[in-house]
Amino acid sequence: MGDERVEAMEIDAQQRQEVAAAVPDGFNADYLRIYYGKLFPYGDFFKWLAYGNDAKHPGCDQSYIGRRELSFTLENDIYLRFQSFDTAAELETSIKEKCPFKIDIGPVYSVDPAKRHAYAQSGNNVFVPVERELIFDIDISDYDDVRYCCSGADTCLDCWPLMTIVIKILDTSLRGDFGFNHILWVYSGRRGVHCWVCDSRARKLSNEQRSAIADYFRVYKGGENSLKKVSLTGPVLHPFLARSYTDVLKCFFEDKLLHSQQLFASEERCQKILELIPDQNVASELHDKWQGNRRSSISKEDVNAARWEQLKTTLQSGKHKTQGLRRCVEEIVFSYTYPRLDMEVSKHMNHLLKAPFCIHPKTGRVCVPIDPNNCEDFDPTAVPTLSQLLGELNAAGMQIDSENDWERTSLEKYIRFFRTSFLQPMLKACKEELETAYSAKLQQSKNTLSW
């Protein structure tokens, strides 16, 4: 029985792919209309943003979801900000009708953002953001100085590990250091990843506290106009940085990026690394050595590893005991691997961020969730595209055994993951918090009465 099912699934997957080819690649309003008509997970999406306030419990804040800003970008570049919805049905109707090319999620405001003008007259600061997930936005285009396979918005399996590093380091720290539990990682559809920290504690952070967290993660300094981008000071590293280095950065640098990016394969690339060494003598010593061993027997494949080993030995040898130079090995690894966050996005409550399950208009790929526990296995080039999904829908057209259309497409595993690993545990926590808060409130009012 078990075997049969596996077989059936394989055939299914094969069929899906074959038929996918039948729908021409691309992204257009017609395709998108079908996606919004049959596949977009409105229910889950709405349940997420309601954070338990859509239940019947008397502790629910009925106005909560209606104060959330969504923003739509339409086909003809019309930008509709401050959309808000009270029910999942309203949301669904509006998305189906407007067919937005992009949906952004903003903060929860003090009042319904759609009615903000009505409040504007009544005085100061009535319309302000009051809650917002803690978000992170990482673009691989910010790594152009340390990757040689692609540039700009392009990415491939050789440079994507840079994003894997981001997920590993941030996810570990957000959970371990900051104590957050409900974290959603999403593929941005083309060139990076988004992170949504959804614990109620995270949603209530002030801008100052958000900045503090972003700064905690920042080692990158100086912008475009200073040579040394990473500066690690102090005799030892902070536990967070030390752990990131030994558990993640070092391995990714030595086992993956050194080879995949051929970091020492040319004069120019070597020079770039040597510039990070503050001691001129040491840098030129290494430079001379590498000039020499260009003619030696080291094969092309080994040159990166060999030069890296030489650099490490030279910098960490007894001769150069000064702290600055020993730290330099770590600084080089950090420069080439450590996450580069778009700080502004995280620092303020009112930044918009693209919603999960949107389709990226340039790639046609779905912004699917990424499992942080298996993020090494995530392959951006294998993420389902809009045309592929429509092909799968066509192929499955006659079957009527599934409740939802998405169950018959490769979107299924992503929606299931979203539900089981993110949404359900989070809603459970929301419910508990709601009940605790409510009974505390009851208790309090009882106490007041008895006085």
């Binding site: 790594y143 250091d177 900051f178 104590g179 300094k221 100086g222 475009e224 902070h238």
Partner: protein, 463 residues
């Protein structure tokens, strides 16, 4: 607080002490406005003295002074302006001046932000100067519910605490008293990675409790400012329109210098003049961004904000700003994408979109404290450039020799605004006594100098 016109005696200092919410030490927490009478002259004089202190702190911060230097600076400023032989009088002056400035600085978001930030810094360094005993008293006054970490828990994280201590250059022997607090309470310690974090808690050493207290202090003052503002607009402003209102309004203008957010009506610049003006009158940060914009036909968000608001302040009208930015960006992203993705934020800067705030251009202090990342060109070149790049950039402006070395020397000592002032002096051949605090001030001072020179030339020609 009651304000009287005559020479009546101040109320008993004891009343002020309790009103100010100070238990034992000399550091009040300003929780409740004092019930005491103040002479009108003192109302103003005390406020001016406190403003001198706050302004000094603001200058110190914008020079990027280190904590030890700030501690010294604050202590000196306080001695110079707020001292009084009689400790009770000194306390009175402290409390009165604080509450007067609350009135002065409650009236706009911008003013509140500045006041809050400076009062916060002042409190932080004054707290550090208090004895451990009075620090504990202040902690209890703020009703901070934290207990010292029990020994068993302490042992479990001792190694990590020692690692953090060494990472910030302290000795490895760990202090023995720690408080375990939600990380939200100590954002400054989190931001600079000066605490160990685990499961949402920060382990704060006794020597760091100032951060806890300051968070509470800031929160109290911030709420109080909003309330004061409501009272001000609802009643005080009208009631006091012949007496306090003029003083209050004069006080905030007196020290803030001209407001560069609203372009002077007399000056208007057009896109075609920008390159010429940049050569003669833009400060280095703005020259640099213009150069990069012309080169890459793109600037990232931080750059668009800093440069765009500067141009607005210099007198570039919205329509011209759109033309200017479009002409560059369209070469890289096409004008369609420009209209779609970038035009909005330009109109936004001019208060035509979103919450419709008419945004102000960035001051040097804000620019210096920016944290430019990959691909960013904004920030202050004196602070954010490496030495070679700065040297080359200054050479490009025609600054060399002794002047150049002098500027680099100021940069090494983190006097970024002085470095910019010296650049102004070197390129304009005049002295600039006020110092540069704002890129738009640099621009308008420069224009003034150039116009004066032009007039001299013309009058010479005509004679």
């Amino acid at each position: 607080m009651e304000i009287v016109r005559s020479q009546r005696q101040l109320a008993a200092a004891a009343a002020a002490a309790s009103g100010g919410g100070s238990g034992a030490g000399a550091l009040p927490t300003y929780r409740v406005a004092p019930q005491l009478e103040v002479r009108l002259e003192e109302f103003e004089l005390f406020a001016i003295d406190r403003l001198r202190v706050l302004k000094g702190i603001s200058d110190g911060l914008s020079r990027g002074k280190r904590p030890e230097e700030m501690e010294k600076l604050v202590s000196e400023l306080w001695k110079a302006h707020m001292r009084h032989q009689d400790p009770a009088e000194a306390l009175n002056k402290d409390i009165i001046s604080h509450f007067v400035l609350r009135l002065v600085y409650c009236r706009t978001e911008e003013l509140r932000k500045w006041f809050l930030s400076m009062e916060n810094t002042l409190f932080r360094y004054r707290f550090r100067l208090e004895s451990p005993e009075s620090q504990r008293l202040l902690m209890s006054e703020f009703q901070l519910p934290y207990k010292a970490l029990p020994h068993s828990e302490f042992e479990a994280v001792k190694d990590k605490l020692s690692q953090v201590a060494r990472s910030i250059g302290q000795s490895a022997s760990v202090e023995s008293v720690f408080f375990k607090v939600p990380f939200e309470e100590v954002p400054d310690l989190v931001a600079s990675r000066r605490v160990f974090l685990s499961k949402g808690y920060a382990y704060v050493a006794m020597s760091q409790v100032v951060s806890l207290v300051v968070t509470q202090f800031r929160c109290n003052i911030s709420k109080a400012l909003v309330l004061t503002n409501r009272k001000w607009t609802a009643t005080i402003k009208e009631q006091e329109k012949d007496r306090l209102t003029p003083i209050v309004e004069a006080l905030s203008n007196a020290y803030f210098g001209p407001d560069y957010s609203q372009p002077n009506d007399a000056t208007e610049i057009s896109p075609k003049d920008i390159d010429q003006l940049a050569r003669t009158s833009f400060p280095l940060c703005m020259r640099h961004m213009l150069e990069k914009l012309r080169e890459n036909h793109h600037l990232k968000h931080g750059g668009r904000m800093q440069f765009g608001l500067f141009l607005k302040g210099a007198g570039l009208k919205l329509e011209d700003a759109l033309t200017f930015w479009r002409s560059e960006f369209s070469q890289k992203v096409g004008s369609e994408r420009f209209d779609k993705e970038y035009a909005y934020s330009i109109r936004h800067n001019y208060g035509k979109e979103g919450k419709r705030t008419d945004y102000t251009s960035y001051s040097c202090q804000k620019i210096i404290s920016a944290t430019p990342g990959v691909g960013d060109h904004h920030g202050c070149p004196y602070r954010h450039f490496g030495e070679e790049n700065l040297r080359a950039a200054l050479n490009n402006m025609g600054v060399g020799g002794n002047a150049l070395e002098g500027i680099l020397d100021k940069v090494k000592n983190r006097h970024y605004q002085l470095a910019c002032t010296m650049t102004f002096e070197a390129t304009h051949g005049v002295s600039c006594d006020t110092g540069i605090n704002h890129p738009n001030q640099y621009f308008s001072e420069s224009q003034k100098v150039l116009q004066a020179k032009n007039q001299t030339v013309q009058s010479q020609l005509s004679t």
